[in-house]
Symmetry: C2
Subunit: 182 residues, 2 copies
DNA sequence: GATAGAACTAAGCGCCCGCTTAGGTCAACG
DNA sequence: CGTTGACCTAAGCGGGCGCTTAGTTCTATC
């Protein structure tokens, strides 16, 4: 059911998807959606929450993968880029359908999203402290690094068979340049 | 009418907007939409076409603003970033609602979008030829430079009063680092 | 003042929307 | 074997959807 909804929301957007679409994709009757979720919006929230947790785990894992600031940042941008391509449909829902959540649910998710930023800011500061990075605007640079990864969901299509490893590698290399790695 | 539709589509997405929403925002009756446009999708196409032309003009103008490759790239990323913030609602429709267009209309727009990429690739090649930039993957780097600007529409909110000049300036500075400007 | 044409609306058609209700099916358990 | 409870569906309610039609209002031109 969740999988079916992810596919539908990613393809047509939340507003453009009917609960009947989701049910058909899941091979169930229209009413089956409401056995598991109180509303269409609750279904989106469940997807968004799961997706954000998975993406955050991915980023934190990469942060912990190395002690060297440059290797660490490289790993983070590589992993986060890769995640957005390997989970393209889920990632698209996560990144594009925030506005469709209720106020309460959106506030929950937004507070989760601040953690992405904080982790990335931490990685940049590590490099500055070690004298390896040269960055004036830490917050802005962290935002730009995340942008580089997140924007992949706008155009990357797994079906087109592009080399996702090469793209993630390029993004990671560019990231090191962006922080003035020496 | 176009303005009203831009606002509505940017706020709720194409699928989540009804033609009645648009009409109310324009201060007209629901039928008035169909006096000017054949269908809801035709309305989106008109917006998308106008938006893409404006954005492309902005990028080309910046390209022509200087002969020096570094100054040129800096101007392009600054202008393109600035455009996405100054025209945040239009830009959001331009970047996020491609999938809602009919096949024929989408093909039109996609061919327009390839020009963005070509202009950016040209700017990067200029710098390589002049010995100022050090870039391995020209296409990938051009894509990343555009990503940096385009992803602004995902989170930038004019109402929040952030300093759009400073953000555009940062993006432009980061762009020069990304191409290994020496 | 008469006329043409563009801009607009009131009303509504047929369809699909989110969601509810009442009831059916079936494995697990005493 | 009877009961429970989780899972599911057929049917449908009230309402909003994209879009059409028939007719009105306004403005420019002679």
């Amino acid at each position: 059911m969740l999988d079916a909804a992810v596919d539908a929301f990613a393809e047509r957007g939340f507003g453009g998807t009917s609960t009947r679409d989701v049910a058909v994709r899941a091979g169930r009757s229209p009413a089956a959606v409401y056995v598991h979720y109180d509303s269409k919006e609750a279904l989106l929230y469940a997807i968004s929450l799961e997706g954000h947790m998975a993406a955050l785990d991915c980023l934190k894992l990469a942060y912990a993968s190395s002690e060297d600031p440059a290797a660490r940042l490289h790993a983070m941008v590589f992993a986060f880029s890769d995640w957005h391509m390997e989970n393209a449909r889920l990632a698209r829902v996560v990144q594009y359908e925030l506005h469709a959540l209720s106020k309460v649910h959106r506030a929950d998710i937004v507070s989760l999203r601040r953690r992405f930023h904080r982790v990335m800011v931490g990685a940049v500061r590590d490099g500055i402290r070690a004298g390896q990075f040269q960055v004036d605007d830490v917050n802005g640079t962290a935002r730009a690094l995340l942008s580089l990864c997140i924007d992949l969901v706008r155009w990357f299509d797994p079906a087109r068979g592009r080399n996702s490893r090469a793209i993630a590698q390029l993004n990671a290399d560019l990231a090191l340049r962006m922080v003035g790695d020496v």
